[in-house]
Symmetry: C2
Subunit: 343 residues, 2 copies
Amino acid sequence: MDVELSLRSRQILEAIVEDYIATAEPVGSSAVARRHSLTLSSATVRNVMANLEEMGLLSSPHTSAGRIPTEKAYRFYVDSLVALRRVSREEKRMIISHCRQSGAGLSGILKETSRTLSQLSNYMGIVVAPSFTSDVFRHIEFIRLGQRKILAILVSSKGAVQNRLIETEDDHAPEELLRMCNYLNEMMQGMTISQARERILTEMKSQKAQYDQLMSKALRISEQAVTVENDEVFIEGQARILDQPEFSDAARMKEIYEAFEQKGIILKLLSRCMIADGVQIYIGSETSLSRSAGISLITSRFVTSSNTVGMLGVIGPTRMGYSSVIPIVDYTAKMVSRILNET
Amino acid sequence: MDVELSLRSRQILEAIVEDYIATAEPVGSSAVARRHSLTLSSATVRNVMANLEEMGLLSSPHTSAGRIPTEKAYRFYVDSLVALRRVSREEKRMIISHCRQSGAGLSGILKETSRTLSQLSNYMGIVVAPSFTSDVFRHIEFIRLGQRKILAILVSSKGAVQNRLIETEDDHAPEELLRMCNYLNEMMQGMTISQARERILTEMKSQKAQYDQLMSKALRISEQAVTVENDEVFIEGQARILDQPEFSDAARMKEIYEAFEQKGIILKLLSRCMIADGVQIYIGSETSLSRSAGISLITSRFVTSSNTVGMLGVIGPTRMGYSSVIPIVDYTAKMVSRILNET
DNA sequence: AAAAAGCACTCGCTACTGTTGAGTGCCAAT
DNA sequence: ATTGGCACTCAACAGTAGCGAGTGCTTTTT
């Protein structure tokens, strides 16, 4: 899969990719010869370009237009060519201060982070909250709302809250509910939510045929409470992709927006990114987001103090400013990790 | 402001508006003469159209194109011309079942409702949750998360939950927190959230110089907890406006999407709709959404069992299928009210 | 006097044309 | 191996002409 290229070919390919990223227009041989310090004539460049095209790294929209990088070329570019910019002092300041000033708990920080990512990159910022299930259990609480209706509130040690309306078979008095809570709180102390869930299920089996009916009911209710729904996803800056000339066409845009309406799709896509450490890059069809649209994705993980893992990144066109966005995503992930661990 | 028109003028205006809604193209005199049962020649229609144009109800994009209704015409149309369709059995079924099957509390129902509105109308569905502040207080709870960090959980009688991370000056033991909660729960029993807030503020003044230091601290913490943030807004079907031919232009769309990114703008816009009862219609510039874009808004209120008011509706192009959307919004609002009151 | 018919005129839309220029591929010269 | 030269391709642009939908005004009909 790896491509062998001479130094010159690589320089030329880099020039083409960067030119195309900057202008969004097919780049011709003379432009390359002129703009870069390689002292070569356009004719020579043309020869090289013909080679690159044959190798599937370039394509021409029509006979006499310049060349456009293929996905393969972007892949090669980010793997071995791109010269990463450093994150500027200004950008660092912005990332940190935005992160800090939003006081409203975990969600607040993450929402603000996705907005910051969008602003700095000029593409779409996206943050997926750490999976609640791997967070450490802190507290559970039942509140009676009406006949046979109780509200279960589940709090993780990071301050994430999950609440759920539960219909019970019998009506329970507040004192009963309190006893249930005490029992459950003690049982689940120190576990992660998913461990707690396991525990509840096993307890339900063992306890089922036993004497303590109240506790078996408590288990049944709590089982619903810890069955967590979908994770939280923050997306900011959706309007920014309209800035990109390649998406001015309405049909294409519609496809993209429809994809984003179902956050589920994105979640599925991003769960892959959770596995590996460091910055991950998915180019074009590698995202499997929508067939045709040239969308790329740059992500990285962040870690909370309780060792749960979240994901943040930037979604933009394949023709994206990788050299500046990659470092920003990298730095932001590290900062978010650090700030979340300050507790 | 009211317009006096002969029967024939009104029929012709109606025909033009409906034709334009259907086709999105300027409608000419002969089209009107042909398509509708008025036995008139195109010439006669032209005379009438010239009148209507003079009155500011029609405009022509250029000399020899057909006429386009102005905002004023739409206004007149919805006020006195439109023949409302009835909500079909199928639609009713859809509204009710979607509403019911989503079990996840108030937010779940409302989110599903906005999706349903979008599906039925083919425009954007929007729902604003009842303002938490006018909901009746049910329960407050403090959970200690770390040194000088507590999580305040505020529950309304409708099952809406608001949680907030609060930094305190001193470190409080769980027993202290429990005493605080008991005190506060008793104090705020039966009030609405906003009443409770008032009460806390007055208490803080009277109690301030007094002996019970713990209670004064409790008040200070709870004051933060009941200061509610922004309301919840659910918007679904954003991609659908891309179906409308008048928005295929990228610049226009960008304007719209940017407007929607700040849900704050929408909230402000919609707070107006809360005042009056029944279906409200805002056409074009009446929405004050964005200068140029021809956006209209059809909304209605719904009411919860605790008499708090929420808002739901449809956002679409000015050239919208009013005759079918108005009844849908009306019916949906009524159904949501009913379902929320079944508790 | 209201309605219809006739007619000249406007103007956007489409198709066709020729021209320009950026870009290519290939070959011969260095 | 590199480069200059040259013929060729093709999108983009501008100009032109014809079509047709639609209008406004005038005249005729009822």
